[in-house]
Assembly symmetry: C2
Homo-oligomer: 378 residues x 2
C-alpha cells in the first residue's frame, strides 16, 4: 500500500484501551488522541488560520462536498490545493462528502454506481461516485482522505442497514482502487465502518474493510440521532475490531464526555461541529460544565470564562465583557466563544494524552466528569 | 486648566498646514496625524483588541450614548472604566453621544437644559444634559472626552444653524464647568465647533469655544450630507482658526482623499465608521483604488488584496480566498476585510507623517491620489 502515513503508539494506559500515538503526515505530525476543528468550507467558522495556530490546532477538517461545489476543484488545484488556498500548512483531513450528499443536498437517486444529487447552493445537478469522491479529494490535497460511504439514517431496519453497509464496502474497494491509481503519495485513504447499531453488522463491516486494507479506519454513522448509550455501545464494539497499530477515527463526535469515553476504548481522532456551533449560540464549555453566556448572571461577572482554562480568551477577557459582546450583537462574540470552545477541546485532548502517559486515564476521566457534569447550567 | 494632555509639534510641512505631532495622554502617546478606529459599543466591529495592536492602532473611539445604554456606567465603573472592561490599555476617545441622541434615538424634546430621548434599544426614556454627558464620560474613563453638542442636520437654514451653534456653546461652557468639578485629571475635554456650512458661523463658533478654552478642539457637523466640496470648505475655514499648538480633530471623516485634504490644512485626528462598515460590505481600500471583493473577477485572482500593503491580510491570503470567504458567508471575511481596511487607514496616516517630516506632503498626496483615483472599481 503506497501510504505516507506513519503511526507510532508511544504509550498505552494499562487499565483500558486508551493510547497515545504520533501520526506522521505529509504536512507534519499529530499527537493523538486529538480533536480536529471543522473547517467545512475552507474556514473554521469565525477563526483565522493564525487563531488555529495560537490555540495549538494540529490538524483540521475540510469537506469535499462543500469544497467541490464552492470554490470547485479547478480553482483549488490552481491554488495548490486547500493548503495553499487557505494558507494552512499543517495537516488536513477531508470528509468525502458522503454525509453531506445524504443530509444537505437534494437527493435524486442512489444506485450501486453512485449518487445523483442537486447542490444545496444553486440546485445544480451532480453525480457522485466513489471514484469521483477520490478525484475531488485528490484535487483538495488533504493528508487524510475518506472513502465515499452511505451514512444510514437512524433509526433504520436491520436489512436496510446491512444492504447499505455492503454497498459502502463495494464503494470502499472502488475508492481504494482509484486512490492507488491516482498514486497521490502524500494522501492517505481511510475506510469507514458502518452498520448502524447492529453488532453483527459492525463486525462484518470492520472485517470487510480491514480485508480491503487502509492506512486508517473510521467509525461512521454515529451521532445521527441514536441515544448516547447506543453510540457508546457502537464504539465499544467497533474500536477493538480495528487494527491496533493503525489510527482510529470516530466521525462527528463530540461532547467532551463522549470524547473521553471513546479515548478510553482506543479511539485516536475526533471531529465535531458542536464546539464551534455551540460557541456561535453562546454555549460555552468550562471545566465546571457548560454555561450559556446569554444568562443574565454573567452581565456583571468579572471573572474569566473558565478559571481553569489558559486560553487567550480566558486570559484576556471577563464573562461580563463576553456577555456584553453577545448582547450587543458584536461579531467578536462569535470569534472569542469559538476560540475558547475549540481551545477547551484541544486542552482536553492534551490532558487525556498526559493522563495516558502516566497511566492515570481512568482517574483523570472520573475527576474531569465529576466536575464537568456537576455544575453546568446548559 | 487641569489637563494631563501634552501636544508637541515635531514637524511642519513648509508648503502647507500639515504637521506631525505627539499627543501625550494618560494611556500613552499618539503620533498625529492619526486615524482612530471606531469601537462604538466597546468593540471595533469584527476585531479583537489583539488585532488592533497588531495593526498598530494607537487610539480608538468609544461612544458614550451606546455605552451609557449598554452595559451602563455602573458596570463600566466596576470594570475599571472602558479600558478595564474591554482590556485595552492604549488611549481611548469617547464621543459625547450628541450625534447619536440626534440621529439614532427617538428624539422627544430639545430644550436649553438638555435633550429628552428614548433608547433605540428598548425605548426607555432618558434625559441627557451637558453635565450628564460629562458624568457618563467620566465613568467610561476615556483619555479624551467630548462636549455634548447639537449636531445640526443638513441642509439647514442659517438662523437655525446659528441658534443651534449658540446653544452648543452654552452647553460647551457647562461641560467645561462639570469637567473641572469632576477633576478627572486623566481625561481631557475637547470643544466641538459647529456652524454648518456658513463661514461666519464657523468663525463665531471657533472663537467662542477658544474663548471658553479646551485642551483640544474638534470640527463637528461635517459628513452629515453636505457635498464633499462644502465639507472641505468648512475644514479650510475652520482649522486655521483653532489654536496652532493644540490638537485638532475632524469628526466622522473619512475617505482617504478627505483625510489627506484635512491633514494638509492642519488637522491631527480623524475617526470614521466608513473603513469598517465598507469592509463588512466587501468594499476594500487599495493603493490603486477601492475594489469590491464580491466582483466575479476576484474568484480566481491569486494575488494579494493590495500588492502595496504590508498588512497581515495582504501578507497571508489571496483575493481568491477572500472572495471565497465572502461568497460562502464566512464570518472570517468580515474580520479580514476590516483588518485590511483599518490597516490601510493607519498606514496612510503613517505615510502622511513621514511625508510631512521630509517636507514632501504635497507630492505624497498627489502621488497617492493619482494612483488611488485612477483604477478603483467601486
Amino acid at each position: 500500500m503506497s501510504t505516507s502515513l506513519t503511526f507510532e503508539i508511544e504509550a498505552k494506559d494499562p487499565a483500558c484501551g486508551a493510547r497515545v500515538g504520533r501520526l506522521g503526515l505529509a504536512h507534519g505530525g499529530v499527537e493523538t488522541p486529538i480533536f480536529m476543528p471543522v473547517g467545512t468550507q475552507g474556514s473554521v467558522k469565525a477563526l483565522s488560520q493564525e487563531d488555529l495556530r495560537t490555540i495549538g490546532a494540529q490538524i483540521i477538517l475540510g469537506n469535499a462536498y462543500h469544497l467541490y461545489l464552492r470554490p470547485g476543484t479547478d480553482l483549488l488545484e490552481k491554488a495548490g490545493g486547500l493548503h495553499g488556498f487557505m494558507n494552512w500548512d499543517r495537516p488536513i483531513l477531508t470528509d468525502s462528502g458522503g454525509f453531506q450528499v445524504f443530509s444537505l443536498a437534494s437527493l435524486n437517486k442512489v444506485t450501486d454506481e453512485g449518487v445523483a444529487f442537486q447542490s444545496h447552493i444553486d440546485g445544480s445537478r451532480h453525480f457522485m461516485t466513489p471514484e469521483k469522491a477520490i478525484d475531488i479529494q485528490t484535487s483538495i490535497g488533504a493528508d487524510i482522505i475518506m472513502c465515499f460511504d452511505e451514512c444510514t439514517s437512524y433509526p433504520v431496519e436491520r436489512e436496510t442497514a446491512a444492504a447499505s453497509m455492503r454497498m459502502t464496502h463495494d464503494w470502499a474497494a472502488r475508492c481504494k482502487t482509484r486512490w492507488l491509481e491516482r498514486d497521490s503519495a502524500t494522501q492517505n485513504l481511510f475506510g469507514i465502518v458502518q452498520g448502524s447499531v447492529f453488532e453483527d453488522l459492525r463486525r462484518e463491516s470492520a472485517a470487510g474493510l480491514v480485508d480491503v486494507g487502509f492506512p486508517g479506519y473510521a467509525i461512521g454513522g454515529v451521532s445521527v440521532g441514536e441515544a448516547k448509550a447506543e453510540m457508546r455501545q457502537v464504539v465499544e464494539w467497533t474500536a477493538p475490531l480495528l487494527p491496533e497499530d493503525q489510527p482510529r477515527y470516530l466521525m462527528g463526535v463530540g461532547p467532551p464526555e463522549d470524547l473521553l469515553h471513546a479515548i478510553e476504548h482506543g479511539v485516536d481522532l475526533f471531529d465535531c461541529v458542536m464546539p464551534t456551533r455551540n460557541a456561535r449560540n453562546g454555549s460555552l464549555f468550562t471545566c465546571a460544565g457548560r454555561l450559556n453566556i446569554k444568562n443574565q448572571r454573567f452581565k456583571s461577572d468579572f471573572g474569566p470564562l473558565d478559571p481553569a482554562c489558559g486560553c487567550p480568551v480566558c486570559r484576556t477577557y471577563t464573562r461580563a465583557y463576553l456577555s456584553h459582546l453577545w448582547r450587543s450583537g458584536e461579531i467578536l462574540a462569535l470569534r472569542l466563544n469559538t476560540l475558547h470552545n475549540l481551545c477547551f477541546m484541544l486542552q482536553l485532548a492534551a490532558r487525556a494524552r498526559q493522563a495516558i502517559r502516566t497511566g492515570d486515564f481512568a482517574a483523570f476521566k472520573d475527576d474531569f466528569l465529576d466536575r464537568y457534569t456537576r455544575a453546568g447550567d446548559a
